[in-house]
């Protein structure tokens, strides 16, 4: 029983960050209809950016705040320079472009840093287990989760109540009608990609406070984000966050009760089952089809 509670709490804490990553991916898919295979690479960039700043004596938590403007700018540039060429074009071209960009990022990270693991050497804050009642927590996990929740809520509020959010939701629901009602889609694309990138890079910054990075780490988060987004429904941005929580819990449950080496197998099996039997996601709106 205690093991179960421990597993669930760890899964939820880790799942919060997964949810954050998934929200960014879902935003890009919802607004631009792009399945961004480079999304994991954006998370990796966030991790390495915080490492680079830490080497220049910037506190990682200060770096997290810096990820907002850096991510917005980087995402906007990415959309403006590359992704706009394939937005609204065939899936094949989107896939090739984002996959290729992800590979280039991976190779550049490998050249700038080493192909091996890099972490925040000497920054051990929050990595000791703290006992809370019968359970053990890592403060770093808890802080990461709180940051994830705060950003997710802020983003949900932005989507719900701001004019920009309304325009984004309109584009998600029906790009053509939104356009004909005066939404400047090109401008929305650039903003959405900027926001999605900033969120992914913040998630990377949170992750690097409790685990080291390797250049290929983006693939791992890309997959988790796919799983989370599919669980939540590809165009359901809040659903993606919940999907991330489920993914985190699923991973920890498999690790605790089956085998840590199989933690992703459980996740992938769930993913395939959901895609096959309920492709519009677990929380799909009624009548929505693929």
């Amino acid at each position: 029983m205690e093991l179960l509670a421990q597993t669930l709490i760890t899964g939820i804490l880790l799942g919060g960050v997964y949810g954050l990553i998934a929200m960014g991916l879902s935003l890009a898919f919802g607004v631009m209809r792009i399945v961004n295979f480079a999304h994991g690479a954006l998370v990796a960039i966030g991790m390495y950016a915080v490492i680079a700043l830490y080497r220049a004596d910037v506190n990682p938590f200060v770096s997290l705040a810096l990820m907002v403007p850096i991510g917005l700018l980087f995402g906007a540039l990415l959309q403006g320079s590359l992704l706009n060429w394939v937005t609204g074009k065939s899936e094949l071209r989107q896939l090739l472009l984002t996959l290729g960009f992800g590979m280039v990022v991976q190779a550049v990270l490998q050249a700038l840093f080493t192909p091996g693991q890099v972490g925040l050497t000497g920054f051990a804050w929050g990595s000791q287990l703290v006992q809370v009642g019968p359970l053990y927590l890592k403060p770093a996990h808890l802080v990461g989760f709180v940051i994830a929740i705060v950003i997710a809520i802020a983003f949900a509020l932005l989507l719900r109540y701001s004019a920009l959010g309304r325009q984004m939701r309109a584009t998600v629901d029906d790009a053509e009608i939104a356009e004909s009602s005066g939404v400047r889609s090109k401008y929305i694309y650039i903003l959405a990609m900027g926001i999605g990138t900033a969120i992914a890079m913040i998630a990377g910054g949170v992750l690097v406070t409790y685990r080291p990075a390797i250049p290929t780490i983006g693939n791992e988060f890309l997959l988790i984000a796919f799983v989370a987004v599919v669980l939540g429904g590809l165009r359901n941005i809040i659903g993606a966050f919940v999907g991330g929580l489920i993914a985190g819990v699923m991973q920890q449950l498999t690790a605790a009760f089956v085998s840590p080496a199989l933690q992703d197998v459980g996740l992938f099996a769930l993913f395939i089952l959901v895609l096959i039997f309920k492709p519009a996601g677990l929380f799909s709106r009624k009548g929505e089809t693929v």
Partner: protein
């Protein structure tokens, strides 16, 4: 002359394979170059097999490494543990891959576009994790070494690169013949009809689900054989190289770069990406590792931006520029333009 015109595919096929067969005599001298030739031909063979599903079938599988790995692991495990000849192992591997493809294929026939891509993508990685986990059977991440014995045809082990080169060429030849026969057959017409418009195909009486499943299974079995081939060639197999994402992407990239849905595109593309990758690796070896990854990434981006029809469309573009645009039946370029303009979201 009229024979050449009428049977141009056969004619050029014979020419290309005849020239390729002489390459070890004058161009690919030495084991390094012949090894490169083997790698290029294997990549081309994989792309030809992938092209059946991804090109002619129009369904982007990003998980064909699953079948490649199943083929390689089946024959290797049978050889290592039971001393079964890799030739029999290759057949067993094709059988295993075929069965898995039927199961995976039949539960995914209703998935369109990106959903199919994601399922295949994740499925191959699921198998990779299982292969890593089953250390007792597969050696896990360390990989499985196939014991070197007295080289003989019976156990698919050869001394020197030359025999491997010709064996690879024979594999590519058979794959090409299979692809060519399919394209010409009524099945090929049904396949393309399903790709172009599944509803129209159904209205014409094509059993779209059956066509999708059959081509997926056939392609999987071909890829599985290549898996056995490469495992025997390298006398080594590990989860990452067998089931990894890079393997799936390589197959798709070769076909798309050359021209998906064309007969010769995947051959040209498969050979080209191996040569580009190796060239970049050798050229930039001293400055940094991972140069070949950058080249792959750059090719992907370039194709996405400027050449979605692959090198094959380049040939058409050049021809149009020289001889003026003619109306051709089944014009690839206008077809893809039409699909794109239906894309939905607007973009200036």
């Amino acid at each position: 002359m009229s024979f050449i015109k009428k049977h141009s595919t056969v004619f050029w096929g014979i020419v290309v394979f005849a020239v390729a067969a002489t390459l070890p005599l004058w161009l690919l001298t030495g084991s390094y170059l012949q090894g490169l030739g083997v790698a290029a031909i294997v990549a081309a063979s994989l792309s030809v097999a992938w092209n059946l599903v991804g090109g002619y079938g129009g369904r982007l599988s990003f998980g064909h490494a699953a079948f490649f790995g199943l083929g390689g692991y089946t024959s290797s495990l049978l050889f290592v543990h039971f001393n079964v000849s890799p030739w029999a192992g290759a057949l067993a591997g094709m059988l295993v891959a075929g069965i898995v493809a039927i199961i995976l294929g039949s539960i995914t026939t209703h998935l369109q576009g990106i959903y199919f891509t994601l399922v295949t993508f994740v499925f191959s990685l699921l198998l990779m994790n299982l292969a890593r986990y089953a250390t007792g059977l597969t050696g896990g991440d360390v990989g499985l070494s196939i014991p070197l014995e007295q080289p003989s045809f019976a156990i698919m082990q050869f001394r020197g690169q030359t025999i491997w080169y010709y064996l690879a060429l024979a594999m590519l030849f058979i794959f090409m013949v299979v692809a060519w026969l399919i394209v010409r057959s009524p099945f090929g017409y049904r396949l393309r009809a399903t790709k172009d418009d599944v509803d129209v195909a159904r209205a014409l009486g094509v059993k779209a689900e059956k066509v999708k499943l059959e081509v997926f299974t056939l392609s999987a079995m071909m890829v599985a054989f290549a898996g056995t081939f490469l495992a025997q060639y390298e006398l080594f197999i590990d989860p990452g190289s067998a089931f990894g994402m890079d393997r799936s992407v390589e197959m798709a990239l070769g076909a798309i770069f050359g021209g998906a849905g064309t007969l010769w595109g995947p051959v040209v593309g498969g050979v080209a990406i191996v040569l580009f990758g190796e060239g970049a690796r050798v050229w930039l070896e001293d400055s940094f590792t991972g140069a070949d990854i950058i080249v792959y990434g750059a090719i992907l981006i370039a194709v996405a931006l400027w050449l979605p029809g692959g090198l094959a469309s380049l040939a058409t573009m050049v021809r149009d520029a020289i001889f003026g645009k003619r109306k051709r039946k089944g014009d690839q370029a206008s077809l893809s333009d039409a699909t794109e303009s239906n894309g939905g979201a607007h973009h200036e």
